[in-house]
C-alpha cells in the first residue's frame, strides 16, 4: 500500500494509520510511542493489522468528517455502497470509558455489500501473538498486562483462531454494524455496550468540531491550514503537552533504504514553529502546555539541551533494530533514536525563540524560567564555536553548519531583547552582544560563498542547505541582498518543481532520499518575505495540491512520482505549511517574526 494512501486518526494519546483499503496498519497502545498492536505497514506478515473491506472489487473515496479527525471511507461496489467511519474515541463522562478504544462504524448506504473483517493483533511490534480468551462472549487478545477486546455488533458469526478474530457479513442498505476494540493496560477491561460506543462516537465528533471551530485562521489556503491544525493536534500528546515529530517510526525516506528513523519523540527543533502555530491559530492551552513541558523536560540536563525528549518527559530510549521486514523491504526497522545523543546547536536558538514568543504572548516569564533562559544564552556564548551535527542530524563528522551558527545568533538576539524588556536577568547582556557580533562575523566571513552568492551549508563548503532559510525566517541579521540571493540560489539549485531537497553533499548515511516537504514551505515563505509574493503564492498552491486525498503530508515526497516517503503525519511539514500560510496572510515581507 503506498504511504500516500494512509490516513491517520487519533485521540491525543495515540494514532492509527488506516489504508485506503480499510486496513488499520499501525497502532501503538496505550500511547503514541508505545510498542504497537498493529504494525502491518512495517511488516505485512508479522506486524498485525485490522482489515475491513468489501469481498468484491470496489472503488474507494475518503474524507475526514468536516472539522474532525474522524475518518469516513466509502466503498462502492457493483452491488452497493458501504460507509466506514473510523475514530479513536475521546474520553467523556457519559459512561465508563475504556483506556483506549478504536471504533469502526459501518453503514449500508445502498444495495448490499458483502464485507469481511479480520483483527490480527501482534503485540510488541509484531514480536508476540496474543493469548486469545473469551470474556462474556467477547474474544480478547491478551499479552501480559495488556488486553484488547474485539466487540462486534451485527458483523456476522465471529471466528477466533491462531491469534486472529474474523468474520464476514452482508451490509444492506439502511442497516449498520459496529466493531469496537477497547483496550486495557494494567487494569481490567471495560466492555462497552453498543449504545455507549455510539454515544462516544458522537461525542468524539462534537469535541473535534468544537476544537476546530475555535481556530482563528481565515486567510488563504484555509482548508489546508485547518487540516494541518487538526493533524498537528493529533501529535500533541494530551498527557504532557509535548508535540511528537510524527506518528510513526521507520517509514523509509528512500525505498528500499536504511534512512528509517523513529520520530515518536518531541524535538526541540520543532518548538518554535509549534508554539508560533499554536499562537497564530488561537490555541493558548496548547501553547501554554507545550512551553511548560519544554521547560520541565529540559530541566535535568540544563543548560545543555537534548535534541529530543520522550513525550512523557523521560529519557529517550536507546536506538535498536526490530526484526521486521520494513516497509517494502526497507530495513532496518528502528525504534529509539541515536540522534538524542548528538550536539545540535540550533536547538538553543529554537528554544530561546520559543521563550521569546511565549513571553510576547503572555507578557511575563516565571522567575525560574527567566533565569534558565538567561543561562541558556550564557551557554551559547561558551559553546557556539563547537562543530555540531546540525538540524539534519547528520551521522558524519560534525562540522560548523551555517544554520546552527545562525540559530546561535538568534538565541542571543532573543535573549538580548528579553533582557531589554526586563523579562530575563540582564547582567550578562554585554557578553551576549559581543558573542552575537562574533557569530555574525563568523557567518558572514566563513559561511557565505562569493562565488555562489549565497550562504552555504557549512563553513568553507560550497554545498547548499535549505535549512539556512530558517535564518531568514527567524530574523537573522544578514544583508538583505545576501539573504535574497541565498533564497534565489536554493530556489535555483535545490528545487525541482514544487520539491525542495534538504541539502547537497554528504551526511554519513548511505543512499538517497526524497524532497523534504517542510523545505518547500520554507522556500515559499522565504520568497514571500523577500518580496516575491506571487511566486510564493504559486508555489504554495502547488504544495497544497501535493497533500494526499485527506490533506496529510509525510516527511518527504519522491519528486519522480509524488510518492510519500518517511514518517507520517509529519509535524514539521504541517507546521511549515501553517507558518507559510499565516505569514503570507499577514503580508510579511522580510521582517523578523
Amino acid at each position: 500500500m503506498p504511504l500516500r494512501d494512509y490516513a491517520v486518526i487519533g485521540d491525543g494519546r495515540t494514532v492509527a494509520l488506516i489504508a485506503a483499503d480499510g486496513s488499520v496498519d499501525w497502532l501503538g497502545l496505550p500511547d503514541l510511542d508505545a510498542p504497537t498492536v498493529f504494525a502491518g505497514v512495517l511488516d505485512a506478515s508479522r506486524g498485525g493489522r485490522f482489515q475491513l473491506e468489501p469481498e468484491e472489487p470496489y472503488q474507494v473515496t475518503r474524507r475526514y468528517l468536516p472539522g474532525t479527525n474522524v475518518l469516513e471511507t466509502t466503498f462502492r461496489t457493483e452491488r452497493g455502497t458501504a460507509r466506514v467511519t473510523d475514530a479513536l474515541s475521546l474520553d467523556d463522562d457519559l459512561a465508563l470509558t475504556p483506556v483506549r478504544e478504536l471504533q469502526r462504524q459501518l453503514d449500508g448506504v445502498s444495495g448490499t455489500v458483502p464485507m469481511r473483517w479480520s483483527v490480527q493483533p501482534r503485540y510488541g511490534y509484531g514480536s508476540r501473538a496474543p493469548r486469545m480468551e473469551w470474556r462474556r462472549g467477547v474474544p480478547v487478545a491478551i499479552d501480559g498486562a495488556d488486553a484488547l477486546a474485539v466487540c462486534g455488533w451485527d458483523v456476522g458469526p465471529v471466528e477466533c483462531r491462531d491469534g486472529e478474530v474474523a468474520g464476514r457479513f452482508d451490509l444492506r442498505e439502511g442497516t449498520d454494524a459496529l466493531i469496537a476494540l477497547p483496550f486495557a493496560h494494567q487494569e481490567p477491561l471495560v466492555l462497552p455496550a453498543r449504545s455507549e460506543c455510539e454515544a462516544r462516537m458522537e461525542h468524539t465528533c462534537q469535541a473535534w468540531r468544537r476544537w476546530a471551530g475555535s481556530r482563528e485562521y481565515t486567510g488563504p489556503w484555509r482548508e489546508a491550514v485547518s487540516r494541518s491544525a487538526l493533524a498537528l493536534k493529533l501529535l500533541v500528546f494530551a498527557q504532557s503537552g509535548a508535540v511528537a515529530a510524527a506518528g510513526t517510526c521507520s517509514l523509509p525516506e528512500f525505498i528500499p533504504g536504511e534512512r528509517n528513523w523513529d520520530y515518536r519523540f518531541s524535538w526541540i527543533r520543532d518548538s518554535a514553529f509549534a508554539l508560533d502555530a499554536f499562537l497564530r491559530l488561537g490555541c493558548p492551552a496548547e501553547a501554554h502546555a507545550y512551553f511548560w513541558w519544554l521547560m520541565h523536560a529540559s530541566q535535568l540536563t540544563h543548560p545543555r539541551l537534548r535534541v529530543l525528549y520522550r513525550l512523557d518527559g523521560g529519557t529517550p530510549a536507546r536506538e535498536r533494530v526490530l526484526p521486521l521486514a520494513g516497509y517494502r523491504g526497507s530495513a532496518p526497522v528502528r525504534t529509539g533514536n541515536a540522534a538524542a545523543e548528538q550536539v545540535q546547536l540550533d536547538t538553543y536558538g529554537e528554544l530561546l525563540h520559543t521563550g521569546w514568543l511565549y513571553a510576547g504572548a503572555t507578557g511575563r516569564l516565571d522567575t525560574d524560567v527567566a533565569r534558565r533562559l538567561a543561562e541558556l544564552a550564557d551557554f551559547v556564548c561558551a559553546e557556539w564555536q563547537r562543530p555540531d551535527s546540525g538540524i539534519w542530524e547528520v551521522r558524519s563528522t560534525p562540522v560548523h553548519f551555517t544554520q546552527s551558527k545562525m540559530m546561535c545568533w538568534v538565541a542571543l538576539d532573543r535573549a538580548i531583547d528579553l533582557a531589554r524588556r526586563r523579562l530575563i536577568p540582564d547582567r550578562h547582556t554585554p557578553r551576549w552582544r559581543a558573542a552575537r557580533l562574533e557569530i555574525h562575523r563568523f557567518i558572514e566571513n566563513q559561511c557565505f560563498s562569493e562565488r555562489g552568492a549565497c550562504y552555504v551549508r557549512s563553513a568553507g563548503s560550497e554545498d547548499l542547505d535549505a535549512a539556512v532559510l530558517l535564518g531568514l525566517l527567524y530574523g537573522y541579521d544578514g544583508a538583505p541582498s545576501r539573504l535574497r540571493s541565498t533564497v534565489d540560489a536554493i530556489d535555483r539549485t535545490l528545487r525541482d518543481g514544487p520539491y525542495v531537497a534538504r541539502y547537497s553533499g554528504e551526511d554519513g548515511v548511505r543512499g538517497s532520499e526524497g524532497a523534504f516537504v517542510a523545505c518547500s514551505f520554507w522556500l515559499a515563505e522565504s520568497l514571500a518575505r523577500t518580496g516575491r509574493v506571487e511566486r510564493a503564492a504559486t508555489l504554495m498552491d502547488d504544495l497544497v495540491a501535493l497533500a494526499n486525498d485527506v490533506g496529510l503530508y509525510s516527511e518527504e515526497i519522491d519528486p519522480a512520482d509524488g510518492a510519500f516517503l518517511g514518517n507520517l503525519p509529519q509535524a514539521l511539514s504541517h507546521l511549515a505549511l501553517i507558518s507559510a500560510a499565516t505569514a503570507m496572510d499577514a503580508g510579511l515581507s522580510g521582517a523578523a517574526r
Binding site: R13, T97, K233, S240, A285, Q299, T301, D366
Partner: protein
C-alpha cells in the same frame, strides 16, 4: 510519645525531605518538585504555585506525621529505625501509587492515562516510580522519605 514531639518531628522531617528533594533537583538528579506539583493544583501562576505548594507540603508533612503517630500508639513503640521503616513504606507508596496514580486523578492540570484530545495537560504525569522526572527520582524520593520517617520516629521516642 506526645503530640508536640510528633509535630516537631513532622516539621523537621518535612524540612529535611524538602531540602533533599530541592538539592537533588539543583544537582540535576530529578525534576521532581512536590510543592510545585501541589501548588499547581490550585493555580497556574508558577510563582504563586510554589509558595502555596510549600504551605500545602508542610501541612501534608504534619498530617502524615500524625498518621505515623497513630500507628506508634497502636503498637506502643516508636524509634528512629521504626520511623525509617515507615518512611521506606511511605516512600514506596508515594512513588508507586500516591504521586503516580492518585495525584494525576485529582490534579486538574496533570496528565493522566485518560487525558485525551482536545484537552491538554499542563503537567506531565510522573509515571511508574516517577521515572518520567528522571532516572534517579525513585532513589532520591524514597531516601528522603526514609529520613522523614526516621526523624518522626526519633522525635516521638525522644518526646516519650
Amino acid at each position: 510519645m506526645n503530640p508536640a514531639g510528633i509535630a516537631a518531628g513532622g516539621f523537621i522531617g518535612t524540612l529535611v525531605l524538602t531540602t533533599a528533594l530541592r538539592a537533588a533537583s539543583a544537582l540535576s538528579l530529578t525534576r521532581m518538585d512536590l510543592p510545585f506539583l501541589l501548588g499547581t493544583a490550585v493555580t497556574v501562576d508558577r510563582t504563586r504555585a510554589k509558595a502555596l505548594g510549600y504551605l500545602m507540603h508542610f501541612a501534608n508533612g504534619q498530617i502524615f506525621a500524625f498518621v505515623y503517630y497513630a500507628v506508634f500508639l497502636a503498637i506502643h513503640h516508636a524509634g528512629w529505625w521504626l520511623g525509617a521503616l515507615f518512611g521506606l513504606v511511605h516512600g514506596l507508596f508515594a512513588v508507586t501509587a500516591l504521586v503516580n496514580t492518585l495525584l494525576p486523578l485529582v490534579h486538574p492540570r496533570m496528565g493522566s492515562p485518560l487525558t485525551s484530545a482536545p484537552d491538554v495537560a499542563l503537567l506531565e504525569p510522573p509515571g511508574f516510580l516517577m521515572l518520567n522526572y528522571g532516572p534517579s527520582t525513585p532513589i532520591v524520593s524514597v531516601s528522603a522519605h526514609i529520613a522523614y520517617g526516621a526523624l518522626i520516629g526519633g522525635f516521638a521516642s525522644l518526646a516519650g
